[in-house]
Symmetry: D2
Subunit: 119 residues, 4 copies
Amino acid sequence: MSQPEVAVANPLEPAPTEPAPHEHGYTANKEAYLRRLKRIEGQVRGIARMVDEDKYCIDILTQVAAVTKALHAVSLGLVEEHIGHCVVGAASEPNPELRAEAIDFKVKEATDAIGRLLR
Amino acid sequence: MSQPEVAVANPLEPAPTEPAPHEHGYTANKEAYLRRLKRIEGQVRGIARMVDEDKYCIDILTQVAAVTKALHAVSLGLVEEHIGHCVVGAASEPNPELRAEAIDFKVKEATDAIGRLLR
Amino acid sequence: MSQPEVAVANPLEPAPTEPAPHEHGYTANKEAYLRRLKRIEGQVRGIARMVDEDKYCIDILTQVAAVTKALHAVSLGLVEEHIGHCVVGAASEPNPELRAEAIDFKVKEATDAIGRLLR
Amino acid sequence: MSQPEVAVANPLEPAPTEPAPHEHGYTANKEAYLRRLKRIEGQVRGIARMVDEDKYCIDILTQVAAVTKALHAVSLGLVEEHIGHCVVGAASEPNPELRAEAIDFKVKEATDAIGRLLR
């Protein structure tokens, strides 16, 4: 269904040849995100083990809800850093015309992402 | 936060010495659930890789939303099988008094689990 | 978008000429549901008033979240009563063949409804 | 539970004596929001009528899901306008120290609001 490896090209992102191509909102907290995702991966593996060991369905559902919650927390962190970094970054573009366009693009993008989380 | 390995004891479940202690609603589809969870585990690993490679935050959010959706689908399958198996099983208890109690217990349990998914 | 007045015909429901056509899971708590929905309606009106008075968007969002939560609680109550009443009712059908079919129908219907709430 | 009328004081909002105290992100679309909320209010009233007329629980749940979805759409619109207006507004504060603080405040506020929608 999803293709984590294929990043959609983003015209407003710095080109890959720039000196700091990797500067995202979450970069400062990268290690923390990786640890949280590692833990979520372990939780998903734990759920598979519960299914394999024929654990009670309600207990499995409880774990699925916990993983969903943990993913929501990760999402919110990313949203916060996206708004504070990418949207605010667009707002500091000196050329007013480009700025308005960049802001609109980033805000729309953020809202669409939030909409996908809400669904 | 969560402890996938520790299943809460359930007084209405068959005791572990009974011949078929593992008969749950999802047992018939166990392999399918394990495959889906394996795929979700891979998706979570893919998200960690995206973070590690400093991919664009919005693309990461899209993947997180996809995993949340996949987990919802797993939950719904488990809920369906729980209602069709455990709740309906309780409804077939011959002793009317035990039956009413068992149904109430199972329905409450299912609704609480759904409530945790909605939150 | 939605048409509250048009109830989809349901082949497994009692025909309208039967003596008690209105017996649903929630009937016993009808007054409580009506009170809760009245309150939700008032909350929605309060949100409109906030928009009209140009209140701060974050405060409006907080109220929208509260209404969503109140609707979730109503949904969960209906789901609980649907499972305990309609699904369990189907399970008490004496003819085994009709019973299996009725249970499948009701369980599927409940799960679909829960799925719409999750989305 | 909630108090739509009581707006939490916001230290970063313009004081009520300023010439344009009402300029929010959603102000331009105020009429559209009021229409949408009016429709949602009618939908909630429709659900109450369904309960009153003992409609089938699943049909009621379908309507509740539709209202929840409509509220999500309203939320997303408000979030979009909040980010594009209030967050970006904070980013245009000329004093760099006040700016950083104002941005942090607005971004945190937006993320908290989104978090309440996700729960």
